[in-house]
Structures are given as structure tokens and as C-alpha cells.
């Protein structure tokens, strides 16, 4: 408990940010995010967009896996559904970008609800394996439903347009991706102050008890799948606008594992965890590139890709064994240190 926070009302107790200091820091962060594109070069802007997309998708997966306790290895497939929806709508009908993104979310949501049906019968590992199956089936559809998805060649996506401005550079599309990501993260954070969010948490902690307490498991599990896939779909749509080409190989099983790894490393069941995890897991491969470039070996660049794969696996294993609550827990410890600083170190 911190000094200076004595909530008088239930609403104040439930607030996401309860002190003026927190709001100040948040405002500073907001300013930084707005100023960011003007301060850095093209490369870091590109990375920022990628990170923001991954944050959105990881947040979605955290709703499902971290908060509802349903492990999914299908997040990439849902992103693929969203990406293909955007690509098909944009290329064929030229509908407004925001509408396309919402449609992407809705299509992925429908897909998620279908994939979620086995979750009524199976849970835990079996569910994870069922979602692996779903992602292979989705890949097959992407590759073979040529009329809509363009087959193995994929689709190329025209840039999103806002008031006649084509968002065709990292600088421009940053202003589309960032607000949407912030909106989605804020939405997820607020979700867990509502009845629905609390129901999700109850299901995670003990689904049978939740059922006894009067939470309809069928509805809430499917809702959780739907919401999570909605996030993935919108993130996939942004992905399509960002990379501007969508192929069946863009969304492999490895990408689903990436997102699961991101929320494990970040911290399951915390919003901060999905943000930190997505940032960390996206940036580590890039940092490795700098390390490998800096190493004085002759053919160090050849080793880059396998080293990345190994570090990726080692991060998953290491965090699970040594820091199961992830980066969010580390962050909390650091904060506690400063809260109690002179009195307890």
C-alpha cells in the first residue's frame, strides 16, 4: 500500500491509475509517443509500428490465455483472417480503412468463436492442440481458396487512405497504428473492471466453481475467444496495411508461439505484461543483430538466424523456470523498491 492513496469510493478504488504521479508519468509517455516519429530514423519508426501491432495482438491473446486460462496457439491464424479480410476488401471494394479494420476484427471474431467450440469439451493442453489444428486448417484455406485469398501467391494491399492521404510510409501509418493500439490496450485494461472481465478471471481460477456461481461457461468462453480473435483480427489488418502484402506463409505456427511466448515473458494475466512482453520479444532479435554485427567473427551474420531461434527458445524456458510471472513482476519489484525507498531497500 502506498502513502497518499486512500480511496473513498468504490469507483476510486477500481481506478486504473490512482495517483497524480501516475497520471503525470502517463502524460509524459503520451507526449513521448507523439513526439517519437519526429525524433527517430526510419528504422526505429518501422520497429515501433511492428511493436505496436504485436502489442495489440499480444493483448488479445492475454485476454484469452492470461485472464480466461484458455491456452491458444492459433493467434497467428486469427491475425491471418484479419489480414486477408483487409486485403480482400481494400483491393476489391476500396472501402474506408477503418471499416475494413472493423470487418477484419469481426471476421476473425467469428473464426475465433468457431475455433472456441472445442473449448467446451476440452481444456488445457488438449485445447492448445486443437488450436494448432485450427491454425493448420486456416493455413490450408489461405493457400487454397484462390478466389478470395489469391492462393499461395497471396494478395498485395493498396495503402490505407485517410482524406486522400495514402498511408504508405512508416511515418504516416504510425498515426493509424498507434492510436488503435492504445485504444485496444485501454479497452482491455477496462474490460477487467467489468462484469465480463471478472467472469473471465473466475473461469480461469476454477471453471467448475465459476459455473456453480452462475457464470454461463459456454457464453463466456466463446466470448473470450471472440474478443481475443477480434484483437488479433484488427492487429492482422494493421499488419496487412503495414507490410502491404499478405501470403499464407505470413502467419505460420511459429508466430502463434511467438505471441504465447510474448505473454509468458511479459507476464500472464496482466495488461502491462502483454505490452512489455511484445516489446521485449520484438526487440530482442533486433538487438541480437547489433550484437552479432559487433562480434569480430568472419561469418557471424550466417549464425544470426539460428542464434535468434535459440535465444527465442531459451527466453521461454528461462522465464518459465526462473521468473514465471514475467517482466511485469520484475517491473513491480522495481516500483516497490522506489515506493519504499528510504525505509526499506
Amino acid at each position: 500500500m502506498r502513502i497518499g492513496t486512500a480511496p473513498q469510493t468504490y469507483a476510486a478504488d477500481q481506478a486504473l491509475f490512482d495517483t497524480r504521479t501516475q497520471w503525470t508519468w502517463l502524460a509524459l509517455l503520451g507526449l513521448l509517443l507523439v513526439a517519437f516519429p519526429f525524433l527517430v530514423n526510419e528504422y526505429w519508426l518501422y520497429m515501433a509500428c511492428l511493436v505496436a501491432i504485436n502489442v495489440a495482438s499480444a493483448t488479445g491473446l492475454n485476454i484469452l490465455t492470461g485472464y480466461t486460462g484458455l491456452v491458444s496457439l492459433g493467434q497467428a491464424a486469427f491475425m491471418g483472417m484479419g489480414a486477408y479480410t483487409v486485403a480482400a476488401l481494400e483491393a476489391r471494394f476500396g472501402t474506408p480503412a477503418l471499416l475494413n479494420l472493423v470487418a477484419a476484427g469481426v471476421v476473425a471474431m467469428a473464426g475465433g468463436a468457431i475455433v472456441g467450440i472445442p473449448s467446451l469439451r476440452v481444456k488445457g493442453l488438449y485445447l492448445a492442440i486443437a488450436t494448432i489444428a485450427a491454425s493448420f486448417i486456416a493455413h490450408f484455406v489461405f493457400a487454397n481458396w484462390t478466389a478470395v485469398t489469391g492462393g499461395t501467391a497471396g494478395l498485395s494491399v493498396p495503402p490505407a487512405r485517410f482524406f486522400g492521404v495514402a498511408l504508405d510510409t512508416s511515418f504516416r501509418i504510425y498515426w493509424l497504428i498507434l492510436p488503435l493500439t492504445v485504444l485496444m490496450v485501454a479497452g482491455a485494461a477496462n474490460l477487467f473492471r467489468t462484469r465480463i472481465g471478472r467472469a473471465f478471471i473466475a473461469i480461469r481460477d476454477r471453471d467448475i466453481s465459476a459455473d456453480v456461481l452462475g457464470i454461463p461457461l459456454l457464453r463466456y468462453k466463446l466470448l473470450s475467444f471472440g474478443l481475443s480473435s477480434f484483437y488479433a483480427g484488427v492487429a492482422g489488418g494493421l499488419w496487412a496495411y503495414f507490410f502491404r502484402v499478405v501470403t499464407p506463409e505470413s502467419f505460420p505456427l511459429l508466430m502463434s508461439i511467438f505471441f504465447l511466448a510474448a505473454i509468458i515473458v511479459g507476464g500472464m494475466g496482466t495488461i502491462l505484461g502483454s505490452i512489455l512482453g511484445a516489446i521485449f520479444m520484438t526487440l530482442v532479435p533486433e538487438l541480437l543483430k547489433f550484437v552479432v554485427d559487433w562480434l569480430p567473427f568472419e561469418n557471424a551474420t550466417v549464425a544470426l538466424s539460428p542464434v535468434r531461434t535459440m535465444v527465442f527458445g531459451a527466453l521461454i524456458v528461462g522465464f518459465l523456470i526462473f521468473e514465471p510471472h514475467g517482466l511485469a513482476e520484475i517491473w513491480r519489484r522495481i516500483r516497490r523498491f522506489f515506493h519504499l525507498y528510504p525505509f526499506r531497500t
Partner: protein, 294 residues
Amino acid sequence: MNFDWLFLFEISLAGIGTGGLYALTGLCFVLIYKATRVVNLAIGEMLMIGAYVFFAFAAGMALPIWLAILGAVIAGGLLGALVERTMIRPMLGESPISVFMVTVGLASILVGLVELVWGANPQRLPEFLPDDPVMIGEAFIASKVFYGFLVAALLVAAVLLIFRFWRGGIALRATASDQAAAYSMGINVPRVFSLSWTFAGALAAVAGIVVGAIGGISPVMGVFGLSVLVVVIFGGLDSVLGALIGGLFIGLVEAWASAYLGGEYELLVTFILLVLILMVRPYGLFGTAEIERL
């Protein structure tokens, strides 16, 4: 309609050949699951390591084939023991999902390791299986598939006998059926854990050598493990019989699917089958139904 029965027969034989390998790998999987309750997604990658170590011994160091096989088996066993000791043991008592994710991470580490040491390009193993085609009646079957199946069948039989009669095998079965009771009867349960991983690692290495001899080796051959996952879900995670029957069945289904529908349908059919099984009988054909208590 003149249906080509011979073709069907040949396809089925090839399918059963692959199915034998599925059954063998499924056995490794069930071995680990029965003893330690760990769903090991890295089984395909352990296979791959076995094949690559064999490749290094046989092609790189030009050892005789039997010595190379022996070396690969020992290396596979060591790998299994090492993984159990460093990654699985610390996770004892954690949720099954966490342990599952550890094996996902392990798979990634092994793939990276193989790419780092041997490069990303596919390689061919030196030929060591007899090369003359085998005819069963009028049907032709590729010799590698035939001898691969033979090796798999022999190994499966050996393993079944070992677990029937050897002390260690009995300890393993005792641990699988009731851990606490096994402890109180003086069975060293942690050592049984090590034993099961070591054994599975060694078996996986043999399976890897045979799979590699048939299809060549590459860092993506771990995908084989995904089909094995379907096999063990189909048969029941904790059932040896299930793994054997499931292996043959999935092998057959995949062969039929790729022959009559086209190669791209192979995985699709496998995974649709998986979803159906999960919907109808989540614990598999011969698996033990889990009873949940609050």
C-alpha cells in the same frame, strides 16, 4: 468402374510403413507422458537431433554404420537425461501448460542448435539400408520404407518386452499408475523420471535415423512431431496400445489422403481428424478419462 486395388494396396503398405515410425515415436511420447505427465512437443526435434548426430558420426567422421547408430542412440539418451535434469525437474509441480511451453522452447533451442552447427540446408544420410525393392505379392514397396517399418516393429516389440519384464520397466509402470504408492514401495521416482526421458531420447534417436534415411534430414524435420502429436491424441496420451494403433491408422490415413486428394491435403486431413477426435473422445481411443475433482 475399375478401381485400382493394387494401387490402393501399395499406398496402404507405404502408409503402414510410415505408420510404424509414427508408432515408434508415439511410444517415446507415451513413455514420457506416462512417467512424468509431460506433454513433450519437442519429440520431433529430439528425433532430428538423433538423425543429425548420426549424420555427423557416419558422414562427417566416417565411422562404421553400427558405431554411428550406437553413438547417436547414446547421444539421444544423454540429451533426454540432460533435458529432464535441467528443464523438466525444476518445473515439477507447475501447471501442465507451463511444462508444455518449456518443451516448446526446447524445440526452438534444438532447431537453432542444428541450424547453427550443420546449416539450414537439407542433407542426405549415407545409405545403409538394403536397396533392392521389396515385392509383397504383386505390390511394390520401397525398400527403405519396408526396412524402416521392420526396425520400428522390432524396437516396439523390444520396448514392450523390456517394460513387461525388466525391473526398471516395472518401476516405470508402477510410477505411472500411482506415484505416491510407488514412492512408498521404495521406488526412486526421480530416477524413474530420468530413466523415462533417457529411454525416450534414445528411442527417438533411432526413429530419427530411420526417418532421415527415408526422407533426408533438415532443420524442419521436427514437423514429423506434429503428426505424432495427432497419433497420441488419437490413441490416448497414456496408452501404449493407443500409440501403436494410432500410429498405423494415422499413417494409413495420411497416405490415402495424399494419394487420392493430393499432397497438400495430407496435413489437413490429419488435423481435421484431430479436431473430430477431440470433440468426440478427448482422451483418445484407449486413454484414461480424466476425472476432475474440486
